[in-house]
């Protein structure tokens, strides 16, 4: 029943899911960094930065991810010739896809974090200011560490959504799971079996993520 799987070596089933993992990993790191910066902008005392953060989040999260990903390839690469440091399409597409995922996911990370910042009692920030900390010190040393601990759960949801969203990268030819699935369905005429295999693969990837991060969020939440 599963013997057709060995016909695929470009990529293999494991190779395709490994690409999904790599996309998720790099996009996850990238959006955590960019999302944190965006969250900092949204709570900053400078109106211009607040405005930029608000505009960015509200625009980006309302654009379909497929549109963003296709734009990185058709718009950035084909028209503006943004090559991301490589002429090889395989490398270029991978980096473009990560750029697209970071752009998109950061908006959600930002909002999750901002909700976390709102859980930190106002007294904390006031106390920090009272002992002479600047805005960035208050954020870095007092507010964000507490905020992060309270939003591990929501961030896990963002990460799981990101894992599943990486399938959109098949639209610009990144050889991840959905890409291989398309190839298999084209050849094998076995939609249900192949669909089940890939669905199972994603459960294997996301279920442990949810369980581990769910456990962590309980352990680390700041008890108030």
């Amino acid at each position: 029943m599963f013997d057709f799987l060995s016909d695929y070596d470009n990529p293999t089933l494991l190779g395709a899911f490994w690409m999904t993992v790599k996309l998720t990993f790099f996009s996850g790191i990238g959006s955590l960094i960019w999302g944190t910066l965006l969250a900092a902008m949204r709570v900053s005392p400078v109106p211009l930065m607040r405005g930029f953060g608000t505009a960015y989040v509200n625009i980006i999260r309302n654009i379909p991810l497929t549109v963003i990903i296709i734009f990185t390839s058709l718009g950035l690469a084909n028209i503006f010739r943004v090559t991301m440091g490589s002429d090889d399409f395989k490398v270029q597409d991978f980096r473009l896809a990560i750029l697209g995922f970071v752009t998109y996911t950061a908006a959600f990370v930002c909002e999750a974090l901002r909700s976390g910042i709102n859980t930190v009692p106002l007294g904390q920030a006031e106390a920090a200011r009272a002992i002479g900390l600047t805005f960035s010190q208050t954020l870095r040393l007092i507010v964000l560490p507490q905020a992060f601990r309270s939003v591990i759960g929501p961030l896990a949801n963002v990460l799981i959504a990101l894992t599943k969203n990486t399938t959109v990268a098949a639209a610009i030819g990144v050889a991840e799971a959905a890409y291989l699935m398309k190839g298999m369905i084209e050849n094998e005429a076995e939609v249900l079996l192949i669909g089940a295999i890939f669905a199972f693969g994603f459960v294997v990837l996301t279920l442990p993520t949810g369980l581990i991060l769910g456990w962590l969020s309980k352990r680390l939440a700041v008890k108030r």
């Binding site: 058709l74 597409d93 084209e186």
Partner: protein, 281 residues
């Protein structure tokens, strides 16, 4: 407890509505299945997004070679053009659409392969297509080996893309998109040097009004694709009827007319009409 009652009620409602629709579905099927009694409809699977083969026009009409063949075959089965419902069958859904009986047959660039033959029966073939390259009219690509090192575009998961990196030009820089339109856009902007898939599909794109004169086919014949008409597994009667209709279509020259009408101005040299049941490997 309240919740449990509510969900039981919901489940009952669901079952009721399902059986209700099932009855409706049965009636519909027996109507469309009983064929040439007059006033009945036939459902045919085509593609909606392939100019020259199967395309849904903005005004809701359909055009293309597959559509012409399907219309002719339906006519022979006793259905006039206004009794045909064209249903979109995407590549991934073709086998299931036939197995479920959603469509009577599928004419949608459906290449006859051994794997697919295990799931569906094929009438035809009605067209022999080859994998080919679409290049700019002033391009100098003339052989498959020219492709190594060149930028090439195809559709994710398509047989053509698999052929390129398995056999034809493993060193080609292959770009894959989810649709041919994106590839054509990349070809137009110069981001890729060639687009590859079946020559019939490429000819259809190149024959579109907005691209006239810009592109040409390289004429390489990189593979053989035998387009067949997919029929539900085991429905030999329909297969035989369709085969007879296809033979008639070739013998009364309607087939040649459909080819020239749809693949027009792109240096497309069609193969002679294939013999029924002869698969060119």
């Amino acid at each position: 407890m309240k919740l449990r009652k509510a969900s039981a009620a919901a489940a009952a409602a669901l079952v009721l509505s399902l059986t209700a629709t099932a009855c409706g579905g049965d009636n519909g099927d027996s109507n469309s299945g009983s064929g040439s009694d007059g006033g009945k409809k036939i459902k045919i699977g085509i593609k909606y997004d392939q100019p020259g083969l199967g395309l849904k026009e903005p005004d809701g009409s359909f055009s293309g070679f597959d559509v012409d063949v399907a219309t002719y075959v339906a006519k022979q089965l006793g259905y006039n053009a206004d009794q045909i419902d064209f249903v979109e069958t995407k590549s991934a859904d073709r086998e299931n659409a036939l197995a479920r009986g959603d469509v009577k047959f599928i004419a949608a660039t459906y290449s006859i392969t051994d794997e697919r033959k295990e799931k569906v029966d094929f009438a035809g073939p009605y067209l022999l297509a080859h994998q080919d390259l679409l290049i700019k009219s002033d391009s100098d690509i003339s052989e498959a080996t020219d492709l190594n090192g060149k930028n090439l575009c195809s559709v994710t998961g398509s047989t053509s893309a698999q052929n390129i990196h398995d056999k034809i030009a493993p060193k080609a820089n292959l770009k894959e998109y989810s649709g041919y339109s994106e590839c054509i856009a990349a070809l137009q902007s110069g981001a890729v040097d060639a687009v590859t898939t079946d020559d019939s599909i490429l000819a259809g794109f190149a024959a579109q009004e907005q691209y006239k004169g810009q592109f040409k086919l390289a004429g390489l014949k990189l593979s053989n694709e035998n387009y067949g008409i997919g029929v539900k597994k085991g429905d030999t009667e329909t297969v035989n009827k369709i085969n007879a209709a296809l033979e008639k279509m070739v013998s009364d020259k309607a087939w040649d007319k459909a080819v020239t009408d749809n693949f027009g101005p792109a240096n497309y040299k069609n193969e002679p009409a294939p013999k029924i049941g002869v698969i060119v490997k």
